[in-house]
Each structure stands twice: as structure tokens, then as C-alpha cells.
């Protein structure tokens, strides 16, 4: 029980460190020192202390958007095993609720973007909606493959100790799934090669352009929510590729946290060595991820 609560505390406090790690890795690749690891937390606190400017076009939808998005991500965090053997809440089919809660958050963000009446934010919203609709089958095919190989229908068991022996028997299939889920994680979290979080041209952005008009505490909510979402997808990738590394729960928890750092480093490496894809190519990448998962499923069903 302590561990079950501790994993939530680590989730709430540790999530903003992942963008810090990514920033550090990118700085090392570029030959700079980079910001301190705690910089995202400082940014959040700074934004939370500021006032906000609201566009005259906006309504309550714009103000509710960041809150709903953050709350949905928090609720989704209840369903994923974040280092402890099991999630706080688990039941058969909980991964559907997980994916749809993230969908709710996205829906709220997209509507808040459209509420500003800006064509730039409209573009970002359209891209977000398009790419996530294409990414959804890839994620679900990956989860179905996991369910098939572990014979479990809840995330805690799908990503639990059963995974260890399955890696010996169905290794190739699980590898395909892990790659596919990693690609989905990059797309869902607006990272290179789908979206470039550090770009400065509104026309080419996806996630950043949707939140152009948010400021102050609202922007803090959005950035915190984005970090939490990255942590959740990191949990999926880490638990999937490492399994629960050890029988001993505390050791497994430490391994999980180490895995999250590795996940952030991997994203940093991808961002430092690749360029963003052309927008028209992004659906092809995601359909490719779906194809990988589908192939994994075929391997498992044969």
C-alpha cells in the first residue's frame, strides 16, 4: 500500500523532471551545459505566480480546457502501474478508460484552441485531432497484442510480472509492440519526429501552437499536464520493455524510475539526431506503427 501511494507521489513530483532530462541530453549533444534538471519545476512555479491575459474572443471553454486536460491525465494516472506491482485502480478493460481519458484531455485542449478563433490555433487543433485519430489504432493494437501474450485484460497484469516469461516465448512480437508504443508515445507527447517542441515557427507547430493564447497559471496547468502525460507513456514503454525487473517490490520501483530516466534519455537522443518529419509524412509514420503492432498480433495469434 505504501508503494502504491508512493508511486503516485513520484508521478506527481517526478513527471516534470522528464522534460528536464530531455533538455539536458539535447544540450549535451549540442555541446552546451543546458538548464538544471529542476528547471521545468521552476518554470511551473514562475508561471503559477503570474497573472493571465485572455483573448476577447474566448469563453469559459478556453478557461476550462487546461483544467479538464490536467484532471483527465491525473485520472488516467490511477490506472497505470507506475512502479508498484499494481495500479491504484484496476479492472478488466481499464486500458480503454486510460486511452479515452487521455482522449478527453485532448478534446478539451482542442476545443480551447478553437475557442480563440485564431487560424494558427485552428491548424494546430486540426493536426492534433488528425494525428491522434491515426495513432489510436496503433496504441490499441499494441495493447491487444500485450493482452493476448499475457492473457490479461487489465494494465496491471498486462505490464506486470507475467511479462517476464512472455519475453522469452514471444520476444519478437513484444519487441515490435514496444517500438510501436514508443512511436505512439512520441506522437502523443508532441516530440520529434512528429512535432518539434522547440520550434519557433507557428505554421509548423502542433501542440505548442494550440496553447499560444494560454498564459500564467493556465499555461502552468498545460505544461504540468504534458509532463504527466509523458510520464504515463514512459510508464507504458518502460514496463513493456523492461517488465517488472525484480520480484522485490522496492527494487522493481527503483528499476522503474531508472527506466523512466532511460526513456527520457532515449527521447533526447531521438530529438538530437533526427529532424521533424514533413507534416504529410506523419500519418505514414503512425500507420507504420499500426502495421508493426498488427504484425505483432499476427505473430501472437498464429
Amino acid at each position: 500500500m505504501t508503494l502504491a501511494l508512493l508511486q503516485i507521489v513520484a508521478f506527481l513530483l517526478g513527471a516534470p523532471l522528464l522534460p528536464g532530462v530531455i533538455g539536458r541530453v539535447k544540450a549535451v549533444f549540442a555541446g552546451r551545459t543546458g538548464p538544471p534538471l529542476l528547471q521545468p519545476w521552476r518554470d511551473l512555479l514562475r508561471l503559477a505566480g503570474k497573472g493571465a491575459v485572455f483573448s476577447r474572443t474566448t469563453t469559459w471553454i478556453f478557461r476550462a480546457g487546461p483544467a479538464v486536460a490536467l484532471a483527465a491525465t491525473l485520472a488516467a494516472g490511477l490506472l497505470v502501474p507506475l512502479g508498484a506491482p499494481a495500479a491504484l485502480v484496476r479492472f478488466g478493460g481499464d486500458f480503454v478508460l486510460f486511452a479515452y481519458l487521455l482522449g478527453l484531455g485532448r478534446f478539451a485542449t482542442v476545443l480551447a484552441a478553437l475557442d480563440t478563433g485564431s487560424s494558427f490555433e485552428g491548424m494546430g487543433a486540426a493536426r492534433e485531432a488528425t494525428y491522434s485519430a491515426v495513432a489510436e489504432p496503433a496504441l490499441f493494437l499494441g495493447l491487444v497484442s500485450l493482452a493476448r501474450s499475457t492473457r490479461a485484460l487489465d494494465l496491471s497484469h498486462m505490464l506486470g510480472l507475467q511479462l517476464q516469461p512472455v519475453w522469452w516465448t514471444d520476444g519478437p512480437a513484444l519487441l515490435l509492440v514496444a517500438v510501436s508504443v514508443f512511436v505512439v508515445a512520441l506522437a502523443e507527447n508532441a516530440r520529434v519526429p512528429v512535432d518539434d517542441p522547440s520550434t519557433h515557427l507557428e505554421l509548423t507547430m502542433i501542440h505548442e501552437v494550440m496553447v499560444l493564447d494560454h498564459s500564467g497559471p493556465d499555461l502552468a496547468l498545460i505544461q504540468y499536464g504534458a509532463a504527466l502525460k509523458l510520464y504515463l507513456f514512459g510508464a507504458l514503454v518502460v514496463r513493456l520493455s523492461l517488465g517488472a525487473l525484480a520480484q522485490e517490490p522496492w527494487l522493481a520501483f527503483a528499476a522503474f524510475l531508472g527506466g523512466q530516466v532511460l526513456f527520457a534519455i532515449a527521447i533526447g537522443v531521438v530529438e538530437s539526431t533526427m529532424a521533424r518529419l514533413r507534416l504529410l509524412r506523419v500519418p505514414q509514420l503512425l500507420i507504420g506503427a499500426s502495421a508493426l503492432s498488427a504484425f505483432a498480433l499476427v505473430l501472437l495469434l498464429r
Binding site: 490506472l79 480503454v96 489504432p137
Partner: protein, 662 residues
């Protein structure tokens, strides 16, 4: 006890429009009286259905002089569950009609509408409870004709006439299939009573034909792709509360028919479930694809009905597969998902059509790209529409999620099947549902964003206003049902699993265990939903504490551009464009571009539309070609009486010869 209640409900709702006709000299009183009659009738029927759900199955039978026919009704759990939306949505729709289509100003067209509205409600209820094939077909025919007359409410408009006649033709092709279906069933069972048909062996030669006919006849009513072609036109042409009735519940009689007929057979062959599942997946994906491409708010909602019927059909297909492979979990989950989605779709689609009606009422247009910014002038309508939009996208914590989750879970049971079992193919339902969920959310972001958010795109919006309370209240009730079922799916699960057991003739103890598991999971969903709401509240409170006092306002950031106009906003079409491109393999978009020419261009325009592939690309050209061919053939024989007489004689001889040989 409940059978007479439902009979009274059928009579009261069917005849309710008579009050409007009788009191036509005092239109306001007449319409209120008719509405009161319909609502009373509906409440009686809903009470009857609820009593029937809780207790033993009631039935009634009277003699009827029609050969093979009997006035017998039976309210089993399947009928009772369908009765709830089928009576609830029209009752709310008639209240909405008080504000939307008032008799005082619309006169005769409102009287006609009320008569057929009541008639179609009574006929739908009778379809759901009749336990005799002849009675079923009679009620079905009344329902189809009353639906046709309802679509024709604004009969002076040519587009309405076209939509209504396409509907009439489609409905009668479907009826023809149903006549053949029940003729075959009657011969197989030896009686037209449904009671005699229960437990037929599915192995008989005729049963394959029976399933195919059911899929055509009922599928045409339900709107499964490619039989959906009549649906978008008819639902867009009718007044909005009629669209809510047709899209929300009239389509569901098709699903009821498929479930009823497949329920007669023991151990259906695997092809039945697989066909229904595949047809459902195709309908769901193509329905939402077509919806994304629409510019007309009501046509878009109508295509979403095709999508949701697809999801329901997927659930029903899974349930049939579960019966084939003796997997009770699959039966219970698939059936519960399908029937719960029937109820849910009736509520949120009813809500959305009523909201679309309110928008049309306030602005006089249904073009999505002419609207915008309505959430300022119509905040209540906008909030209620948002509830419907979130629910239809299957997002928690609303009811659309509960039913889609059941269908997902049903499909996931296939992962537990032994290796090399053909049941594993059911897993295609999972990515299909995921894709449909993502696309539906994109589509409703487009609708809500383009209609209610941003700046007004045209003068239509200038005088927009909140509709009268008679139109708001029904939407409020439907939104409340969406929230209630979404937060507490536990409340409906036991009734659904009991109905599944009755439909599939499963032993009750098997179902009780499964239902207990479902209830536990559903309770956790409620828990997470409650946490979600609490978290939203807490974050909003934190935000409010941070942003005390007035905050500065500014124009939207235009990246440095100083004079933005409303026409520069992203439109609904541009929002959906990159997704519509993905459907290029099945769409035949028409675009008309006038390119600006010369150094001082005067005029430029762009106009695009995506016609229905089945109706406008296949059926209409083929029918036109057929008619021209027939005309050419006929031209040879016109005026030659001997030749025509010869043809008649030859025709008769052929028929006689066929009769002799057969």
C-alpha cells in the same frame, strides 16, 4: 399488469395527433393537448416496460381475422429495453415541437406533423412488442409510411421531396425483404407466432436465406453501409425533432429486428456473427468518414448515426459469435454493449439533433462554415450540445463511453480464446473501434469548434438567441440521462445481462457470475469518473485562487498580423480536410473553383462537397441509365397493339410453364 399499460400507451401515442386536428381552431391548446396525450402515453409505456423488466414476461393475445395473424403482444426484456428510448425520445421531441414547430404559426403543417409523429411513435412501440409476424409487418408498414409523411413535412421544397421519395423507395425494398423473411420463417416454424419460432435449428437450408434477408431488410432500416444511402437526406430534410426521432430511435427498430430474428435460432453459424461484425465495422469507419466530409450540420449528424449503428452491429455480431462458440462472456458483453449503445445513442443523438434544431431556429442556416461564436449568444444550448458531443465521441465520464467499453471488452474476450480458434478474428473490432473513436472526437471538435466557438463567420449569427424553455427542457433531460448513465453504468448492467441471458437462452447462474464481474468493473469506472470530476473542481478552484481580480483582455494573438477578420479563421472544412484526404479511396469529392484571373481579379470562389458514394455515385446514375434503356425499348412497341398482346401472351405462357415444371 404491464401489457395493458403498454397497449394503452400504443393507442394513446398513436391517436395523440387527433387532438391537434380536433382543436385546430385553438391551435395553442390543441398542440399542448396533443403533446400531453403523447407524453402521458409514453410515460405509461415506460412504466409498463420497467415493470416488465423487473418481473415475469407479460403477454396478451386477441383474435384477428387476418389469415395467420393474431393481435398478440409480448414484452420480454429485449422489447422492454428498446421501449424505453423508443417512447422517451418522441415524448421529449413533442415537447420540443411546442417551441420549434408551433401550431399557432405553422398551421396545417404542424397538425400533419403531430398526427404522423404520434402514429410513428405508437407503431414503433407496437413493432417492439408484437409477438406475431403479421402484426409485426403491419406495424412496420405503418411506421415506414408515417416516417415518409414526416419527412415530407415541408413538402413544397424540392430537396425534401427527393429525400422523402428516396426514403420511401428504400423503406419498401426493405419491406419486401421482410415479407420474404417472415414467409420463410413462418414455413420453417409452421406458424406466424414468434413463440413457435423460438429454438429453430440454424442448420436448416432456409436459415441462411433468412439471415441474409434480415440483414437486407432490417439493415436497410438501420442504415448499415452500403444500405445507408437514404438516411442522410431524409434525416437532414425533416424538422429537427423528427430527425431526433428518426435518427435516435426509428433506426433502432432495424437493430431490434436483427436481434429478434437471430434470437429465434439455436447455435447460429459463425458466418452470421462474422458478417454482422464486418458490416458493423465498415459502417462505423465509413459513417464517421462521410460525417467528417459534410458541411451541413444535420447531414453530418445523420452520418454519425451510420457510425453508431455500426458500433451497435459490432456488439450484436460479437454476441452472435459468442453464441456460436459457446462463450457466455462474449454473449453478455456484446449484447449489453449493443443494447446499451442503442439507449445511449438515442439520448445523445436526440440531444444533438435538438441542439442542431435550436441552432437552425436561431440562425436560419445549417451550413457549419457560416456559423461560429454561438456559445456567446446561446450559452445553454452550447453547454448541452457539448455534453452530447462529448458523449457521442465515447469520452468518459459520459454514457457513450460505458457502451463502447462493453463492446471493447467483448472483443477482447477473443484474446482469451485458444490458439488457432477462428474467434480470434473478432479482434479486428478493437482497432476499428479505436479508429472510429478518434475520428468521432475529431469530427465533433470540428462541429463544436466551427459552430459554437471563435468568431461569427457570417451575418446569420448576428441575431442568434437562446431558444424558448420548451426547447431547452427536453435537451436538458437528455443531457442529464447522458451524465447519469455515464457516471453510474452499474445501474443498468444487471437488466442488460438478464436480457442477454434471455435472448441467448443461457442458464441464469452463468450470467449472474459474469454480471457480478461487470458490476465490479463498472463501479471502478464510476470511481475514476468521480475522481475526474473532483480533480476538475480542485484544479478550477486553484486556478480561481491564482487569478483573483480582473485579468487584462486582448485580441487573440495573430502572430503579428494587425487586422485579423473572422473569415481568416480555420473553418470546419479546413479542420477536417487532412482526415478527409485519408478517405480518398472511397470518396468522390466535387469541387468548383473559380480562379482569380488577370492583374485585377474581380471574382474568385471555391466550393466543394462530398456526395454520398452509394446514392449519388452508384444508384442514381445506374437508375438513370436503366430508365433510359427502358425508354428506348418501349419506343419500339408504342402503338403496336398486336405486338404488345403477343408479349402479354408470351409472359403468361412462361409463367404457366414455370408453374408446371416447378
Amino acid at each position: 399488469m404491464s401489457a395493458p399499460l403498454i397497449l394503452a400507451s400504443v393507442l394513446l401515442t398513436s391517436l395523440s395527433g387527433g387532438a391537434a386536428l380536433a382543436l385546430r381552431r385553438r391551435p395553442e391548446v390543441g398542440q399542448r393537448f396533443a403533446t400531453a396525450l403523447l407524453v402521458t402515453g409514453a410515460l405509461l409505456g415506460i412504466a409498463g416496460a420497467l415493470i416488465a423488466l423487473g418481473g415475469p414476461t407479460p403477454s396478451l393475445a386477441f383474435r384477428w381475422s387476418t389469415p395467420g395473424g393474431a393481435l398478440s403482444i409480448r414484452v420480454d426484456a429485449l422489447s422492454a429495453l428498446f421501449l424505453l428510448p423508443i417512447l422517451g425520445v418522441p415524448a421529449l421531441g413533442s415537447v420540443y415541437g411546442l417551441g420549434y414547430w408551433p401550431q399557432a404559426t405553422r398551421g396545417a403543417s404542424s397538425i400533419r406533423l403531430q398526427i404522423y409523429f404520434g402514429l410513428v411513435t405508437g407503431a414503433m412501440a407496437l413493432v417492439c412488442v408484437s409477438a406475431n409476424a403479421i402484426l409485426f409487418l403491419a406495424a412496420w408498414e405503418v411506421m415506414a409510411l408515417a416516417g415518409f409523411l414526416l419527412v415530407l413535412t415541408e413538402h413544397e421544397r424540392p430537396d425534401v421531396q427527393r429525400a422523402a421519395f428516396v426514403y420511401l423507395a428504400a423503406a419498401h425494398v426493405g419491406n419486401l425483404a421482410l415479407f420474404a423473411l417472415f414467409a420463410l420463417l413462418g414455413r420453417l416454424a409452421g406458424s406466424f407466432e414468434f413463440a413457435a419460432m423460438a429454438g429453430l435449428p440454424a442448420g436448416a437450408a432456409a436459415s441462411g436465406w433468412i439471415f441474409a434477408l434480415a440483414l437486407c431488410g432490417f439493415g436497410l432500416k438501420a442504415g448499415l453501409v452500403p444500405l445507408h444511402f437514404w438516411l442522410p437526406g431524409a434525416h437532414a430534410a425533416a424538422p429537427s425533432h423528427v430527425s431526433a426521432l428518426m435518427s435516435g430511435v426509428l433506426l433502432k427498430t432495424g437493430i431490434y429486428g436483427i436481434l429478434r430474428v437471430t434470437g429465434f435460432f439455436d447455435a447460429p453459424p459463425p458466418a452470421w456473427g462474422a458478417t454482422l461484425l464486418a458490416a458493423g465495422a465498415a459502417s462505423a469507419v465509413l459513417g464517421v468518414g462521410f460525417a467528417l466530409a459534410q458541411h451541413d450540420l444535420k447531414r453530418l449528424l445523420a452520418y454519425h448515426s451510420v457510425e453508431n449503428i455500426g458500433i451497435i452491429a459490432m456488439g450484436a455480431g460479437l454476441a452472435l459469435l459468442g453464441r456460436t462458440y459457446a462463450q457466455p462472456a462474449l454473449v453478455v458483453l456484446g449484447f449489453s454493449g449493443a443494447v446499451l449503445h442503442v439507449v445511449n445513442h438515442a439520448t445523445f443523438k436526440g440531444l444533438l439533433f435538438l441542439g442542431a434544431g435550436a441552432v437552425h431556429h436561431a440562425t436560419g442556416t445549417r451550413e457549419i462554415d457560416h456559423l461560429g461564436g454561438l456559445s456567446r449568444a446561446m450559452p445553454v444550448t452550447a453547454a448541452l450540445f457539448l455534453v452530447g458531443a462529448t458523449a457521442i465521441s465515447g469520452l468518459p465520464p459520459l454514457n457513450g463511453f460505458a457502451s463502447e467499453w462493453l463492446v471493447y471488452l467483448g472483443a477482447m474476450q477473443a484474446t482469451l480464446a485458444p490458439a488457432a480458434s477462428p474467434l480470434q478474428l473478432a479482434l479486428i473490432a478493437v482497432p476499428a473501434l479505436a479508429l472510429v473513436g478518434g475520428l468521432a472526437a475529431a469530427c465533433f471538435a470540428k462541429v463544436f469548434g466551427a459552430v459554437f466557438l471563435g468568431h461569427a463567420r457570417s451575418g446569420h449569427v448576428a441575431h442568434a438567441h437562446e431558444p424558448p424553455p420548451a426547447m431547452i427542457a427536453p435537451m436538458g433531460v437528455l443531457a442529464a440521462v447522458c451524465v447519469l448513465i455515464g457516471l453510474l453504468p452499474v445501474a443498468v448492467l444487471p437488466a442488460l445481462s438478464a436480457a442477454a441471458a434471455e435472448w441467448a437462452r443461457l442458464p441464469p447462474d452463468v450470467v449472474t457470475d459474469l454480471a457480478a464481474g461487470g458490476v465490479r468493473s463498472a463501479a471502478r469506472i464510476s470511481g475514476v469518473a468521480a475522481t475526474l470530476l473532483l480533480a476538475v473542481g480542485a484544479v478550477l478552484l486553484w486556478r480561481r485562487a491564482r487569478l483573483r481580480g480582473p485579468q487584462p483582455a486582448a485580441p487573440t494573438w495573430g502572430c503579428g498580423f494587425a487586422r485579423p477578420t473572422a473569415r481568416m479563421q480555420y473553418t470546419g472544412s479546413s479542420f477536417a480536410d487532412s482526415l478527409v484526404l485519408r478517405f480518398g479511396w472511397v470518396f468522390f469529392p466535387k469541387t468548383r473553383v473559380v480562379i482569380p484571373a488577370g492583374p485585377f481579379p474581380r471574382h474568385a470562389s471555391f466550393d466543394s462537397s462530398v456526395p454520398d458514394t452509394v446514392l449519388d455515385v452508384v444508384i442514381v446514375p445506374a437508375a438513370g441509365r436503366g430508365a433510359r434503356f427502358a425508354e428506348r425499348v418501349r419506343a419500339h412497341f408504342i402503338g403496336r397493339v398486336q405486338f404488345q398482346a403477343l408479349l402479354v401472351v408470351l409472359g403468361l405462357l412462361t409463367l404457366l410453364g414455370w408453374y408446371a415444371v416447378w
